[in-house]
Structures are given as C-alpha cells and as structure tokens.
Amino acid sequence: MTAIADPARPRRKIGKTDPIQKLAILIGVSLFAAAILAPVIVPFDPLGQSLLSRLRPPLGFERYSAGHFAGTDELGRDVLSRSLYGLRLTLGLAFAGALIGLLIGGTLGLVAGLRRGWVEDTIMALVDMQIAIPFTLVALLILSLMGSDLTVLVLVLGIAGWEQYARIVRAEVRRLTTLPFIEAAWTAGAGPIYTAWRHVLPNLVSPLVVQFTLALSNIVILESTLSFLGLGVQPPQPSLGSMVGLGRDYMPTAPWIVLVPAALIVALTFSVQIFGDWLRDRADVRLRDR
C-alpha cells in the first residue's frame, strides 16, 4: 500500500466526503465505541454459560430465549455479548500489532534511509524476504511451535506488516534528504539522530497514519484467520475469528453463532479500509508533488 495516487482515478475534491465514506466512518466509530464500552453495555457475562439454554436462536425466531437478542451459542453463552467482547479483543490485538509493526518498520526504514550502504541493503533484503514469504504460513509455524498465548499472538501480528512501513519510510527519507532544508541542517552541523528526529520524522506522520489504518484491517483479518484455525485466541476467551471457527460445526443448525461475529469482521474491515482511503486522499495534499 503506497501513498501514490492512481492517476486513472478521478481525483476527489479535497475536503469533500462522499456518502459511502460517511456511512463507513459512522459504522467505524460505532464499532470502536461499542468495543470500548463493551464491559458497560453488554447484557450478559461473555463467559457465563447456561447449559440448559444452549443454541437458542435470535430475537424473532421460535425458541428465542428472553434477553439474548442474538441468540446463544453451544454452551448457552450470549452471542451478542461474546461478539462485542470479541470485537474489543480483536481490535485491541490489531492496534497493538499495528503499533509494533509501525515501531519496527518505521525504525528500520528510517535507519535504512539515513545510513545507506550495507545497512540499507540488509534491511531491504529483509523487506524483500518478508514480502516473498506468505506470512500466514509463518504465523502458523510460530504459533504452533511457541504455543498460542496472547503475548506471542501480539508479537506475530506485530511483525505481520512491518515491511510496508519500512518501505514507505525509507522512500520518504530518501526523498526528503535531497531537499534543501535537510541539506541546510547537515551543513549547520546537525547529527543524524537530531536530523531524523527534528526534520525527517514530522514529515512522515501523515503517510504513516494512512499506512497504520490500512494495516489495521489486514491485521484484523490475520487475527481472525489465526483464531479461526484455532491458533490465535484460545477458548473460552472470545475473539471474532475464534467464534467463527468454533461455531462452524453449527453453521447448518445454529448459523447465528457464526453470522454475528462474521458480520462484525466484515463491517470492521470495510469501514477501516474506507476510512484509510479517505485519510489517504486528504494526505495527498502534501504528497501530490512527489
């Protein structure tokens, strides 16, 4: 995901937000709010079982069990409460993962852009390797070897997308260092760390924010994939992916167990992606002249 605008695509007027974008942002904000407020708003304990009212359908169907608006799962737990807690955990993991990726990728990209030579070659070789290897496979390998606790999972999600940050940062740094104000700083005797911190970093903020947003939805998908495969978040803790994974045996008989978290995954990645695009369009103001 680079920040170069597609020339074939009609450029939107900056500052104007189309209805789809508005809708997506509205959905995104509600999902974030729901995730943050989950402990306050959920009607039931997400781990609380009720063995005698298992597999009850959502509101409006026969055998509906009062209060469980989205039905109950295979252990009689409230699907809505679990989904919101799952959303909270999934988003939390995605944020932590995207931040770790930003830190690793950003630092390495900055070093590569400033130091050049063998340092840059090594880092860029690592980037190429990361791009060449299908990361889901690597993640599966790490998780099956190290066991899947939350720390390992967060680290795996963190290294999932670092190479994109590294590429963006390196390219920007290379461009910036040819500009007069950096030259001026060098000449004035500024050291590399000072230059990086004072002059280069502030110019990287907006491409990084855009990349962060786009990475977020990829990490949501990766986390869901890993949890679906049983290697991510472990039961009884709910995450959106693990709910879909564990509920798939019930798809023909109790589809709501899968549909509710699956709908949340779709809504979340959709809105975050659109939001990222919207953000990128705005960031274009500064990037247009590249």
């Binding site: 005698l52 039961p235 798939r248 045996d249 023909p252």
Partner: protein, 516 residues
C-alpha cells in the same frame, strides 16, 4: 418376454453393482494397520473386517457367547494350558494356507515380544501368557503362567488376531527371520484371513477393502468398500448429503437433527463402551492433597453435561463399570458423585488459596471434548475452584506439569480388567507416566481382582480398588459418549453391543444395502 427380462436385468445391473460398493467418510483413518500393536479408537474401526481371532463371540449379544473362528474347538488340558484345534482350509489374502506355524508366530510375536510397540501391548494385557507352541499342523497350545480367569476373553483380543508367518518375515531383510522392519512393513501392507482384503491403503487418507472370495466363512456382502478420511464434521455431513459418502462416522449429538430431517438419511448410534474421563495428577505439587482432587471431582455435575451436551443420550456411571462386564458389572457401587457443598468444604479444609488449575484438552479429538472442558471449568468456578482450559493438540498426560485433562478409557475387552485394568494397573500406563501412584495394598487388591478364579472375590477386590480411587482420586469417568453414524436410508447397519468401541463390522449379516 425374454427380451423384457433382459432389459430389466440390464437396467438393474448398474444399480446392483453400486449397491455392492459403498464409501465411508471417516473422521480418522489410521496411519498404520497392525492389529497387534494398535489399540486406538481409530484403528479398532478397521481390523475386524480383515482379520480373524482364534475364538470369536456373537457380537449381537451383550453377554459373551464364544463361537469358533480360526479355532474350531478348545479345551483346558491343564489349568494353565489351553489346547486349540485349528480350522483346516483357511487361506490368507495372499493365497497362503493358514497352519499352526502362522498361529504360533502371531501369538508369540506378542507373548514373547521384542518389537517395542508389541512389548507395550503384551505387558498391559497379555502378561500372563509366556508362549504358544505347535503340537501338529492343526493343533496349538497356549501356556499361562498362572491360572487364568479370562481365557476366552483374552484369546479373542484384537491384538492376537492371526497374521501369516512367511509373508511377514519375507517383507524385508532375511526372509527366515522376523525383524522389527518386517513388522513396520506389515503395518503398511497388512494381510489377514478375514472376509475383506485390504486392496489399497494410504495411511491417514484412504483404505479400500475388496471382498475376499476364498474367505473360510460366509461371503462378505459388499464387493468393495472405500474408507476416506474426512476430518471436518461439516465436510463429512456434506459428503453424506451429496451422496459422496454412504456412511459417515463420529456425528456429535448436536448434528443428529440435521441428518434426521433429511428424508433420504438416518442415523444409528449407541452409548459406546468407553468412558470419557478426567484425569488428575496425584504428583503435581499443588494437587498432592487428595481433598483438592476430590473437590475437583465432586464439583462436576456430570448429569448436566449429559443433558446439555449429549441430549441425555450418554450414560453417566456411578463407578468405573459397564454393563458389558457381565457378572462383574457393579452399578450398585457409588464412588463418583456431584456434591458442590462437599467440594467447597473439602477445599476449606485443605486450605485451597484459589490457585489456578489447568484442564488440558485437544481441540477436536474427543467428541464434545472442548465443550465439556469449558463447561467443567465453569462448574469448578461454581464449586470454588479456579480452573482454566488449555487447548493443545499435544498429549500432556506424561508431563509433570499436568494438573487435569481429558482422556478416554475404552473397553478393550469385556471385563473390568479390559477397561480400568489396562489403564490403572500397578506399573500400568498411568503409573509409568508419573501421575498415578500405587502401593502394596493396591497391588494386593489388584492381584486378587486380576487372577482370582472366583467371581465374588474379583468383585470384592475391584470394590477395594474403586474405594482407593475415591479416596485419592486420579480419575473421574465422565460418561459413556453417545457416538453416532449417519447413513443413507438404503443401508442397514448399526454398531453391535458385543464389539469393542467403533468397530465397522461389515461381515455377512451385519450390513445390508438395498438397491436392486
């Protein structure tokens, strides 16, 4: 008229052919096929179609009724020696004729085992039999070290099914010597005397049986059976509904309604002769106090698990006992109960400080295993215990860090020795994994239970063992799971009460396929 008959016959032909060939979608296909070394729930599905024992039983009956198989008659000529007359004219699938040499070879490969996988099986169930010997081409004798109360039971085990001597020895290396590599090779190209020969075997994927025309007994009803591994429940269900499979195995009770709603399909099931159990590590530093383990056991409402997860179709036992054990079935003995108040009281007495107790489970190995694990830790929470489910597909039963986990105790043969006995004998698998301790008193009760020829003495000794398990628990039998098979309505098949769990018995009279 003749023409009409001909066309009718022709039209019926493909139907007839397809009625003789079926496909089974199995949750698991073994990675090897050797009845001697195997005692898994996966393997037990397959052996009875391809191999015979010396003595068989009427599998349609719960109580043992011994029937001649490869031996036509048998008698004890001394209290510790059984002489068996062998059936003449029996051929192996490779064309060799079966003689006393093959029988002695098959038995002694177990009784005097040197191949490590055989040694384990010989030790846990055949330890009383030092050897078999040939008298003449159709007579063999089996020797026991001590008087044996379970002669027929133990001579009809899957582990002592008969395999060909010359074929096996010639598989690798020196054709006159039985090397370990011969047994390894046999497990991938098995040959027996049963009504179906293994025509094709891809470990873990596919097994094809073809009718063996020279079978000594009644001809097999099916010409060809394809067993295909389909691990995912949802995919197995789809295979059955699309007609890709005619029978599918291991259906959880939650899925039954889906099959039964389909007018073309039906299910057959039974409470399998096997316990899903919870095991607890007596030697974990935090669980050394038996009161904590008693509380872990008392806090579990097994009837609620049965009601919720098995729709009430499983069987919750009062002690480690099954109806299949005949005279030794002791349902009046109550050693496992649900009593959360008592659990709390015991925890107070023991000074339990709320430390976390892990319950390990594989994600999908046991039907409802993960669900039960989660429900159990919730029940523990209600009883004052702090439990946590740990999902891992590795076996943790031998780890010193094990606290509790799920396991199964199948009935390998119809006697308490064949279920509790195999797993919990002194020096047996549980003790050698370091999570179960026995002492002299236990070993003494064990001796009387295992070897006494008086049924009442055996029952009394077994009660002593059960009391020990109650006082210092290492195991809680949860229930006999209700296992189901789904199939087309045109197929008439059901698991039979006289078999060990999971046997797919497709012999004559035990399966019929309509369609001509």
């Amino acid at each position: 008229m003749f023409r009409l008959m001909l066309t009718t016959a022709l039209a019926a032909l493909p139907l007839y052919a397809s009625a003789q060939e079926i496909t089974v979608g199995a949750a698991n296909v073994s990675s090897y096929l050797d009845p001697g070394r195997d005692h898994s729930n996966v393997g037990s599905q397959f052996y009875y179609n391809s191999f015979d024992t010396l003595i068989d039983r009427d599998h349609s009956k719960l109580d043992p009724e011994w029937t001649p198989a490869l031996a036509t008659s048998w008698e004890l000529i001394e209290p510790t020696v059984m002489e068996l007359k062998l059936r003449e004219g029996v051929t192996f699938h490779n064309g060799e004729e079966m003689t006393a040499d093959d029988v002695v070879f098959s038995l002694n490969r177990m009784m005097q085992a040197t191949f490590p996988p055989y040694v384990v099986r010989a030790k846990d169930r055949l330890a009383n039999f030092p050897k078999a010997e040939k008298v003449d081409d159709y007579t063999v004798r089996i020797h026991a070290a001590r008087e044996e109360p379970l002669w027929e039971t133990l001579i009809s085990l899957q582990q002592v099914m008969i395999i060909p001597e010359d074929y096996t020895k010639a598989l690798t290396g020196d054709p006159d010597v039985a090397e370990d590599s011969d047994y390894e090779a046999f497990a991938l190209a098995p040959v027996g005397t049963g009504p179906y020969r293994v025509a094709e075997f891809q470990p873990g994927e596919k097994l094809v049986w073809e009718r063996f025309d020279d079978f000594w007994g009644e001809q097999a009803p099916l010409r060809r059976v394809n067993v295909v591994q389909i691990s995912e429940t949802a995919s197995r269900m789809t295979a059955l509904r699309t007609g890709e499979a005619d029978i599918i195995t291991n259906i959880a009770p939650d899925q039954l309604s889906l099959i039964e709603r389909d007018p073309e399909l039906k299910t057959a099931g039974s409470a399998t002769a096997l316990f899903h159990v919870m095991i607890m590590n007596q030697n974990h530093p935090k669980l050394e106090d038996p009161r904590i383990r008693q509380a872990m056991s008392l806090a579990i409402d097994r009837d609620a698990l049965n009601e919720a997860l098995w729709l009430g179709k499983a069987v919750v036992p009062s002690t480690h006992t099954m109806a299949e054990m005949g005279a030794l079935h002791q349902p009046d003995l109550v050693t496992f109960e649900y009593d959360p108040e008592r659990a709390r009281a015991l925890l107070d007495e023991a000074g339990y400080d709320g430390f976390e107790i892990t319950f390990d489970t594989a994600s999908s190995y046991y039907t409802n295993g993960l669900l039960a694990a989660q429900a159990i830790t919730q029940m523990w929470a209600d009883g004052g215990l702090n439990g946590k489910v740990v999902v891992s597909d590795t076996w943790t039963g031998g780890s010193p860090d094990l606290m509790a986990r799920n396991w199964s105790n199948p009935m390998y043969f119809a006697d308490p020795f064949g279920s509790f006995g195999v797993m919990w004998a002194p020096e047996g698998p549980s003790q050698s994994e370091g999570r179960f301790n026995t002492d002299e008193a236990y070993a003494d009760s064990w001796e009387r239970f295992r070897y006494s020829t008086d049924v009442e003495t055996r029952k009394a000794a077994y009660r002593e063992l059960m009391e020990r398990v109650k006082e210092d628990p290492a195991v809680l039998p949860l229930y006999r799971p209700f296992e189901s098979w789904g199939m087309k309505k045109s197929i008439d098949w059901a698991p039979m009460p006289g078999h060990i769990p999971y046997v797919l018995d497709f012999r004559a009279g035990n399966i019929t396929v309509a369609g001509s």
